[in-house]
Amino acid sequence: MRISPYLRDQNPSSRMQARLGQWYLAWLRMRRNSLAMTGLYIIVILLLVAAFAPLIAPYDPLEQDLGRRLLPPLSPGHLLGTDDFGRDMLSRIIFGSRITLYIVSLVAVTAPVLGLAVGTVSGYFGGWTDRVLMRLTDIFLAFPRLILALALVAVLGPGIENAVLAIALTAWPPYARVARAETLTVRSSDYIAAVRLQGAGAGRIIWGHVMPMCLPSVIIRVTLDMAGVILIAAGLGFLGLGVQPPLPEWGLMISSGRKLLFEQWWVATMPGLAIFIVSLGFNLLGDGLRDVLDPRNSGK
């Protein structure tokens, strides 16, 4: 393998090679953790299913066929059965993965970014900046997430974008706290003192020196939170306040299958299983990332 010696080179000849080399070593460390790899595979399968949904799904997820309603799993042509409108469960779950992924990615790129920014600025400057920003964070933290998301959706109206906004607005405070805690530790270290002594301004220090140290904790936290995000989206969908029918969002599917739970259990259970598996995947991956990112890379 020609790539491997390039990545394992003890004396890299560019910053890019050095960085890729470190990621490669981190990857090798993670590979030794089979639970984390299981989580990773689950997420990869999620990504692939979402990407190739039109090619994999046997039917159109929105196509109704009232003559073939409520068929049980393993019926010919319908591996996971059909729902009360005759729509194929398997196809709906496959397309539902896209919606799940959409929600998860939007939240993952907005909430942590906001949290990191607030946390590092608050932790680095201290004093009044810290107090004001932390009180703001406390206010958002004090509300139970689902209730706050409900309130926001009630104000903004139902729909997938509003559901994502609601979730993101409630998800950022923990990241701010995590980032602030890391920043407080990092702030008093010698390497920060050294760069201050070179005349660096606060912006350069926060962006280039403090944030890279906060990233691992935030990344791990985000991964572990993804399960919660999916469940909140499912909760909103379940309550009819997030994604609207006939979109095949998993939470919504559980809701509409609720009344059929005893006789036609698969209508609610299949999407429930999908949520369970994906949440499990994120949790396992998050745990694995914690082992890889935290102890080795912090200092010695």
Binding site: L25, L28, R29, R32
Partner: protein, 276 residues
């Protein structure tokens, strides 16, 4: 009489980048005397000390041709047997009392814990014994110290408490891993003389692990010099200045002296054949 006999001790660690050999075939024997193990970082001296008490956890692995303490085979002993040995017959004092004393327990509680649980002494008997132990390490106001938390004590005081705690069960062998390295220079002298006294009066064996060759030379009867997992020299402390091995000589000569010349300090030739 030999208290401890170690032959061909090997300690390896299984990491993702391969096997790391921390100790590569170390052999020595110890009677009721003071043995100093000296080396720089990475020499394997701490690992050697910890292997005796089997304090190394996976992915570390201990192997030896022989590791016998007073007739007990330390390699083949069960974990239960090791637990009975640790603290009772073989004790260990570590570098920084801030990290080796429990920060949320008062000193008195820590000192009497072992006595009450293991020896089943009553509260007052255990207290008495603890005060006697503190007295032995020359702590003038034992009651105040018994009531204090570790962070309220100075470094030297904390280390003396640590020594007192380790010596209560009257062990046969004490392993001291850099016991004075975290202390100020004037306090070091005090703590060392206390340790010296105690070891002499109780007739214990002492393994003194340090990076400071001159300190060990002054304090111990015999010196083992380690480099990269191997013993490079084993000699009596009084013969230290006549050391034969180039590493030992290098280590002796590379330190600056008060009143020495100001030219460049001689440094070690790491490319020599012994270095590897």
């Amino acid at each position: 009489m030999t208290l401890l006999s170690v032959k061909n001790l090997r300690v390896t660690f299984d990491t993702e980048s391969g096997v790391v050999e921390a100790v590569r075939g170390v052999s020595f024997s110890l009677g009721r005397e003071r043995l100093g193990i000296v080396g720089e970082s990475g020499s394997g001296k701490t690992m050697t000390g910890r292997s005796i008490l089997r304090l190394i956890r996976p992915p570390g692995h201990i192997a030896a041709d022989e590791m016998v303490f007073d007739g007990i085979d330390l390699i083949r002993a069960t974990e239960k047997e090791m637990r009975a040995l640790r603290g009772q017959r073989i004790a260990m004092v570590m570098q920084d009392p801030k990290y080796s004393l429990n920060p949320v327990m008062r000193v008195g509680a820590q000192l009497t814990e072992g006595l009450r649980q293991r020896d089943k002494l009553s509260k007052s008997d255990a207290y008495e014994k603890a005060v006697v132990a503190l007295d032995a390490v020359q702590i003038r106001d034992p009651e105040r110290v018994m009531d204090a938390y570790p962070h309220e004590l100075s470094g030297g005081m904390g280390q003396r408490v640590m020594i007192a705690m380790m010596l209560i069960p009257n062990p046969d062998l004490l392993i001291a891993d850099e016991p004075t390295s975290a202390l100020d220079v004037t306090v070091q002298a005090e703590v060392l003389s206390i340790l010296d006294d105690l070891v002499k009066t109780r007739g214990m064996g002492l393994i003194f692990i340090s990076h400071d060759l001159r300190l060990v030379g002054r304090f111990c009867d015999r010196v083992l010099v380690m480099y990269k997992g191997r013993v490079v020299e084993d000699l009596a402390a009084k013969d230290l200045l006549q050391a034969k091995h180039p590493y030992t000589q290098g280590l002796l000569n590379c330190l600056p002296r008060i009143g020495g010349n100001r030219g460049p300090l001689p440094d070690l030739d790491r490319s020599a054949e012994w270095a590897g």
